[in-house]
Structures are given as C-alpha cells and as structure tokens.
C-alpha cells in the first residue's frame, strides 16, 4: 500500500512539475539554461554565490551542483512559493533575479497571415455543439451553433464565442463539463456551417428542450422553430 501511495505521489509530483515547466517555457520563451543536480560551470557558480549571499547555501562556491546546492535551491524555492524541486528553471531563475533571455522578435516585418486563424473558434463551437446536441439531427446541430453565433452579435450577450459559451448558467453541457469531450465529426461540420453563415433558426437567441426545461422564464419566449428535440425562440 505504502509503496503504491508513494509511487502515486511521485507520479503526481512529476506531472505537476512537468506542467509547471511546460507553462514556464511558454511564457518566458526563455532560452535560459536549466540547472540541476550534476550541472556545473559558471552559471552554477553564480547561483551558488547568490544563494550564499542570501544565506541559503553554506558550502563552497565550486561551480558544481551537488547535494548542498540542491538543498539550498529547495529552501529558496520553498521560501519563494515555487515548486520545491531543486531544479533551477526559468521561474526560479527569475525569482533569483537572473536575467532570463527573452526570444527577441525578428526586426523585419514578418507576415502574420499564418498566425491568425479560426481553427480555435471552430473547435470550441464544435465542442459546445457536441455537448449540447450530439443526439440531434444535423440541422439541429447547425442550429445550436447558429444560436451561439447570434448571441455574439446581440447587445445583451458577450461578444465573443468563448464569452457566450462559458457564460455562467448559460449551457448545461458547459456547467457539467461535457464541453471538454472530443468533438464529434458531424459537430465539427455543423460548427463550420454555422460559422459560414448557415442559420436554420432565422436569428434565434434561445433554445430549450420542452421535455427537460426547468426554467419557467423560458416558456415566455416566442417559439420560432422546432428542430428535433429542441425549440428555438427569441
């Protein structure tokens, strides 16, 4: 039991650290070297000097990252709210006040045509459709996508697709986490059609399932169209 628990903890820890490092590397875009047990050289010497100055490190400044340095780094990390893993990554370097080398943007104008895309929005919309209407006929899936897009253009709703989808209390599939499922293929197609302007609802802002709707208020909406199990209205 104990062994399993230990192993599990170790795996969890590793995953945590892993994701931390992952995040780090993206946000800093840093080319800075990571220092760990076994590293050596001028960088380590500098690290030891700094740690010694701040009373974390008592050993010799020899430029070799050993047990003493490891413990000192861990102590430093604990004190500074970092993951105490004894590895000097970008976050720790930053906390130490070492220059973290940022990736300089190229000086000449670079085309940004490739950078801007709608893939993210298509996937997000497809996820929402999958969560809300995977059992519905295709036209009903396009309709859900269209309602979400109609909302982004309406003054009473958020202006972005993410804003509408993640608006608290707006969609049950979001609240219960179904939105995080892999989107179905037909829902990806439906999301594309909706983004390309197909709107089977004729501009509706609301839909509900009359069999399961719990909100009384929703019944005060005018029904414009019925598609599959859903009613659409304004």
């Amino acid at each position: 039991m104990r062994k399993i628990a230990l192993a599990a903890t170790a795996i969890l820890l590793a995953a945590c650290i892993g994701s931390l490092i992952y995040l780090d590397s993206y946000f800093n875009a840093a080319a800075a070297q990571t220092l760990y047990w076994g590293s050596s050289g001028a960088e380590v010497r500098k690290l030891q000097e700094t740690l010694k100055r701040w009373d974390y490190y008592k050993g010799p400044v020899d430029g070799v990252f050993g047990g003493g340095t490891f413990e000192a780094v861990k102590a430093f990390q604990r004190k500074n709210g970092l993951t105490a893993d004894g590895v000097v990554g970008p976050a720790t370097l930053k906390a130490l006040g070492f220059p973290v080398q940022a990736k300089a943007a190229p000086k000449d104008y670079q085309s940004s045509g490739k950078v801007v895309s709608r893939d993210q929005e298509t996937t997000l919309l497809a996820r929402a459709i999958t969560g809300e209407a995977r059992g519905e006929p295709y036209i009903g899936q396009v309709a859900i996508g269209a309602v979400i897009l109609n909302r982004t253009r309406h003054p009473s709703f958020p202006n972005t697709i993410a804003g509408v989808i993640y608006q608290p209390q707006a969609f049950t599939a979001v609240a219960d986490g179904q939105i995080n499922m892999e989107p179905m293929e037909s829902c990806i197609k439906a999301a594309r059609d909706a983004l390309n302007g197909w709107d089977p609802t004729g501009g509706c802002l609301y839909y509900w399932n009359p069999a399961t709707a719990t909100s009384k208020w929703i019944w005060s909406r005018t029904v414009e169209k019925k598609i599959g199990k859903h009613w659409f209205g304004n």
């Binding site: 946000f27 670079q110 950078v115 089977p200």
Partner: protein, 453 residues
C-alpha cells in the same frame, strides 16, 4: 445485541461513503466552474491578441488619419482587454509579467500615437519600425498562446497545475464570486467591441434588417412550396419531402426535409430545404452527406455552381472567395450590377467534389438586400482614389468599383484596391465620391481557402 456494533459501523460506513460522494460531486462542480472560467479567459485573451496583430498589420497600409485612429483605438482597447484577461488567469505573476508589460505598452504606445496623429503628425521612420517590431512580437505571442492552448486541453494544465494546487484558493474564489462582481464583469465584457472576423468573404456578416426588397410579393401555399423544394433538389434526388415546423424570423419560410433516393428513411443524412413563404425562393439547403473522394477540381465545381445559380434564376452572380473542407468546396457569390460588385448581396453555395452535387446553399443575405440599385457615376476616378490610399504599401493600378455595407446598414460606393505590404495582403476601400479610406481588410491565405479579416 451483538449486532449493534456492526450495524452502527455499517451505517457509519454508508454515511461516510455518501458524504464522500457528495464532497466529490461538489469538488467536481467547482473544478468545472474554475476550468470554464479559465478557458473563457484564455480564449478571449487569444482573440484579443489576434485582433491586435491584425490591426497592427493594417496600420502598415492605412493611409489616412481617420483609419489610423480607428486602428489605434482598437489596438488600445484590445490590449487593455487582453491584459485584463491575462491578469485574471491563475498564472503566477512571474510567469506572465513580460506578456502583461508588452500588452500594456502596446496599448500605451498606440494611444500616444493616436493623440499625435490627431495633431497632424506623421509617423517617423523609427516609429514605423517600432510598430513593425510590436507586430512581430504580437504575432509570435499569438502563436505561443495557440500552442499553449493545445496543452490546456490535452494536458489539462488548468486542472493539474492549478486546481489541484488551488483547492483552498478555489473555495475562497467561490466566496468572492458575489453577484455584483459577476454582473460588473459581464457589463465590462459587453463594453468591448471585437473587430468581427468575417469568415467567408468581405462583409458577409451584414444582414439588412427590415428591408427585404426581394421578398415583396404573393404568399405561396405550402403545397406550392413543397413542389418548389422538390424542383430545387432536382427530380429523382429526393423520394419524399416531409413538412417540418415552419420558420419565422429573419425570413418567413416553409421547411422541408428530404430523404435521398438511395437512402432509407430515418437512416443516413436527410436533406433540409427552406422555401420563402413570399414568392417561393429557396432560402437554404443543408446536406451533410459524406463526400469520400474528389473527382472534380474546384474550378469545375465553380462551373457547376454557376450553372446551378443560373438555372434557379439567380442571375449576374460572380464567384469571389472559396474555401475547401475535406472534399467540399464552399463558394461565395456576390451580385454584380453593371460593373459594380455589390458585396451585401451574397449567396453561398457548397459543391461536393465527388459528383458535383450542390450540398449547401444559403441566400438569406441576398434575399434580404438585393434590388436594382440606382448607382450614380462616382465623383472620383480610380486613379484619383488611388492617390488617397496607402503610401507605404504596393497598390494595384486599377481599382474595382463596389458597394460595401456600413455598420449602420447603409451602403457606400467604393473603389477596392489590392495592397501588399511585405508578405501580407490587404484590400483597401476608398470612398468613390469623397476619397475617404472607409475600410481595410486583411486577406489571410490558408490551406483551405482565403479568410478576410
């Protein structure tokens, strides 16, 4: 008596189990809420940075103060918004401080340039270089955010990295979510107007409200509409057309559901057709069948679409932009009156590349805006308009006369010029009467087609 202890223990065990289950449920709900909030912030952040990138590149080709100011203020607003979103994400300050600084500075800088531009000062060489550098930086930030996003979904960074660590924080956060705050943040949300992505050709999001010139006429009966739907789909394509509940809304329609000839009812993909109640125009077709392979080229597909539109009575339509997904091509058609391109009058058509069948059609915009316009001769010639346009970009010689919609559902007669700045391409619209730079669109060429932003 000897059973008392086991019973008590059993009850205790069950109670503990239930309690644990409840706790777990609650934890899951909170985790979901937390995750959703973060996802949303993240998407909005990415969206804002994309807008900043696009607007910075548009600045390179903008030639008039008026357009500059619009772009500067958009950047300023989006930079503020992005910074705001970033600072709410549970990312340690140390991780994101550079990005925050960058966003703040982009905002500040463009605000300062806007003020100077209003005083009539032009950009210096150095400032132009700065803008280019900012543009590059924001483009790479954009890319990084998109890459990170993949790991947010796949590796569940928010959950592993943040929720696990932040359980205590989470409870506190839930307490702090008081209704006033939520309301306020929603309010603030709506104050920000995002530049809309125009997905399928210039100005396609435009819908004329209330004015439906094409739809003035006699109401047809359901039976007549049924025949039209049958006719529109072509003889033999459809076995049976069932009536679905009719649609009101933007256009009043009769809705039909058809089952293709070689399919049994209730299986496979039905075809959906809506026919307008007035006059009986086809409004849309949706057919989600699989298209396993491509036998014809996109060029041939355009020919098929041309023929289809002609047969169905949509004359003078000109293909503009195409997008290809899997084995289906989406073609945007706009109306052409004499030699003027009328962008508001848009029809979209999808052709399957296996047999050239029409698998999608949408004439909502065309039907709500098309009429014979009285177009007066422009006061400026193409060459005069060209002089009013961008100074920095390469610009084509001859402009194309066109009508573009305004945000307030009006229409403006413009010259459209293609402009190129280094590797990026744009469309610049110059008012054909006043010479004002009305709009700049960036054309983004992707694998599957061209995107207008």
């Amino acid at each position: 008596m000897k059973y008392v202890l086991p019973i008590v223990l059993a009850i205790a065990l069950i109670a503990t189990g239930l309690w644990g289950y409840n706790q777990n449920q609650e934890r899951e709900q909170l985790a979901n809420f937390f995750m959703n909030t973060n996802q949303r912030l993240y998407y909005d952040l990415t969206g804002s940075v994309q807008s900043i990138t696009t607007d910075l590149s548009k600045l390179m080709v903008s030639g008039q103060t008026r357009q500059n100011i619009i772009l500067y203020s958009n950047i300023w607003k989006n930079a503020y918004n992005a910074q705001e979103k970033l600072s709410q994400l549970p990312i340690q300050h140390a991780q994101a401080s550079k990005t925050e600084k960058f966003l703040n500075q982009v905002g500040d800088y463009t605000f300062a340039l806007a003020k100077r531009n209003l005083d009539g000062e032009q950009l210096s060489e150095q400032e132009l270089e700065n803008l280019e550098a900012l543009h590059n930086y924001s483009a790479s930030l954009c890319q990084e955010l998109q890459e990170l996003h993949n790991s947010v979904f796949k590796g569940e960074v928010w959950l592993g990295e943040l929720v696990g660590k932040a359980n205590r924080k989470l409870n506190r956060q839930a307490k702090e979510e008081n209704p006033v705050d939520v309301q306020f943040s929603k309010f603030e949300e709506r104050m920000v107007e995002y530049p809309e992505l125009i997905y399928d050709g210039p100005f396609s999001e435009h819908v004329v409200k209330g004015r439906k010139p094409r739809l003035q006429g006699d109401k047809i009966t359901k039976e007549q509409a049924r025949k039209k739907a049958q006719e529109f789909l072509g003889e033999g394509t459809v076995k049976q057309i069932e009536s679905a509940p009719g649609s009101t809304g933007r256009i009043n329609t009769y809705s039909f559901e058809g089952v293709p000839k070689n399919q049994t009812e209730g299986k496979g993909n039905p075809i959906y057709v809506d026919i307008s109640q007035q006059i009986g125009y086809p409004v849309y077709i949706l057919n989600n069948r699989d298209v396993p392979k491509a036998n014809i080229s996109p060029k041939q597909a355009i020919k098929r679409a041309d023929k289809f539109l002609n047969e169905k009575g949509f004359k003078n339509m000109m293909p503009t932009y195409t997008m290809r997904y899997d084995n289906v091509v989406l073609i945007n058609y706009v109306y052409k009156q004499d030699d003027v391109v009328i962008y508001p009058d848009l029809i979209k058509i999808k052709i399957a590349l296996d047999n050239g069948e029409v698998v999608g059609f949408d004439s909502t915009q065309f039907l709500t805006s098309n009429y014979q316009r009285n177009i007066e001769a422009p006061k400026l010639t193409s060459a005069e308009a060209r002089e009013k346009a961008t100074i920095r970009a390469q610009i084509e010689e001859e402009g194309q006369l066109c009508i573009i919609p305004t945000d307030a559902y009006g229409e403006i007669l413009c010259y459209e010029f293609e402009a190129t700045y280094k590797q990026d391409k744009f469309l610049v619209y110059i008012n054909a009467n006043t010479g004002v730079e009305e709009k700049i669109l960036k054309t983004v060429e992707q694998e599957n087609g061209t995107l207008m932003i």
